[in-house]
Amino acid sequence: MGDGQERTDSELLHAHVGGDPDAFAELVARHRDRLWAVALRTLGDREEAADAVQDALLSAYRAADRFRGDAAVTTWLHRIVVNACLDRVRRRQAHPTVPLPDGSRDRDAGGRGAGIEPASPEVDHDTVLVVREALGRLPAEQRAALVLVDIQGYSVGEVAHILGIAEGTVKSRCARGRLRLATLLGHLRPAPAGRAAPVNTDTSGNPAAPGDVPTGSGGGQSGQRRIL
């Protein structure tokens, strides 16, 4: 796909609208791994994620002429994929699901129950599995926000665009999602005596998204760093 000089996402989308039969496929090839990761981590189910991505990208294919360029193309694609995922979660809540009996499922899941699927086998250690399971137990909106901010590394502002909500709402969903995860994972315990307030305990190497960094709301907590 795509001979010669590489076109921007926007150029590819416009080319698709203009009738270029290869442009959309090139655009998809460029972003599908990230879209897939978002879908898989939001839905926790390989087949559901595959269906969601396919539905979303077919929708994007057909609605490309409605893209107004007020956000990056990739943000627009993420938004469609995330919405497709959340739609599926809502449907699944109304109609509980179990795994499909296809061969790949059997191979991948190894008899594991419905819910979160394994990622790359080479990083498939217990902690990752437990965290993935816990993530799957969050409300879908919190999960989607955390997947985008803490796992995929998007800024709060980008995620606000993707989800179509205010930045404060993104922060709240992330914060409450982290709180739930902390509870589910057994991390939320009374701090050791003498630890009056949190300092920078973020040793993850995953810096807080820009929007999550406190802007200094004053008072006697100056010097504390919010990391939840």
Binding site: Q152, K171, A196
Partner: protein
């Protein structure tokens, strides 16, 4: 939240504060005061900070894991997009401009077959009313046509059945909603296909299906789901399928893989469908009753397989692939693959 250890602390609110969601609001000032003055709030604040560090580390570990789209899913997606590429985006179709004139070259699996098998080709201007009429004569044949056209198998089946372009053109007219072009119930189609009372269809297309071609049907037979939901007359009380007559059984038998001929027998076929229905809890999100649209005595990944397209009680189109032992007491449904296609 449990939060039992933190008496009187609103943990969600505290989490909002810590996460910056309350910045610049009176709530933030109030919580700062609580954290400064109230030992319980202070302890909770400290605990949340520690826990957050661990959670973020955990999530970072997830994020560090490479998660590329698996090749089979990428192939499936490519197939779906190629199928979609055969028809122009809706805004172009609404403009009423024929596809070739818009310079959208046909692409994708369907193009491998005869161009006449594409509903988009030569679309007449009466298209606006077409879907309703297409619905009326039943979606099963439409789905079958879509299956036949997908992956260029239409021509093979049609030639194999000796009816050639006749059925392909029937497909085109059917997609246009030409009710008169629809095969009547009981009318034989190529490949041993039979349109049956109730709209379901049994055929032996000779297709070797792959997961991606099964899934690709959805985008190709776009309006079928709506059609099926509207076609209440075909809904069965349980997981039941086409009833064949003795006359069409011989045509099916001659076209079907030998290993599947047992399943042409009405009792065995019904046993298989019953077994598929009994296993309906295996289909994600499945809600009965199911209405079978197409039963194809075909192959899946090279192996003989009964490919059953059906619509569940919510109007979700699905496909189940069963092996030759489907319906045998010891084999159950012998399901090889199942997925949603719409």
């Amino acid at each position: 939240m449990t939060g039992n250890e933190f008496n009187g602390v609103d943990l969600d609110r505290l989490a909002d504060y810590v996460g910056g969601a309350l910045d610049g609001t009176p709530d933030a000032v109030e919580i700062e005061r609580l954290v400064a003055d109230d030992p319980d709030w202070r302890a909770a604040y400290a605990a949340l900070g520690l826990a957050a560090g661990q959670v973020r580390a955990d999530l970072a570990a997830l994020g560090a894991a490479s998660e590329p789209m698996p090749p089979d899913i990428a192939d499936r997606l490519d197939a779906a997009l190629r199928s979609a590429a055969g028809a122009p985006p809706p805004h172009r179709r609404r403009a009423g401009t024929p596809v070739p004139a818009r310079g959208v070259p046909p692409s994708g699996p369907a193009r491998g077959g005869k161009a006449s098998g594409r509903p988009a080709s030569g679309r007449p201007p009466r298209r606006r009313n077409a879907p309703r009429r297409w619905v009326r004569w039943g979606s099963a044949a439409a789905v079958a046509v879509a299956v036949l056209a997908l992956g260029g198998i239409g021509a093979n089946v049609l030639r194999g059945g000796g009816a050639g372009d006749n059925a392909a053109s029937t497909a085109g007219r059917g997609a246009e909603g030409d009710q008169s072009a629809a095969p009547a119930a009981g009318q034989a189609l190529p490949g041993g296909a039979q349109t049956l009372p109730g709209g379901a269809q049994a055929l032996a297309s000779g297709t070797d299906y792959r997961p991606e071609t099964l899934a690709g049907v959805v985008s190709f037979a776009g309006s079928g789901a709506t059609a099926t939901r509207a076609n209440e007359g075909t809904r069965q009380p349980d997981f039941t399928g086409p009833r064949k007559t003795a006359a069409d059984s011989s045509a099916l038998a001659s076209a079907a893989p030998a290993e599947l001929r047992r399943l042409i027998n009405p009792a065995d076929q019904q046993a298989c469908l019953d077994a598929l229905g009994a296993g309906s809890t295996l289909y994600a999100g499945y809600v009965g009753p199911a209405t079978v649209q197409v039963v194809d005595y075909a192959r899946f990944k090279g192996e003989p397989a009964l490919v059953v397209y059906f619509v569940d009680g919510r109007g979700v189109r699905r496909v189940a692939v069963a092996g030759p032992r489907c319906g045998e007491p010891s084999a159950g449904a012998d399901v090889k693959y199942a997925t949603q296609v719409g």
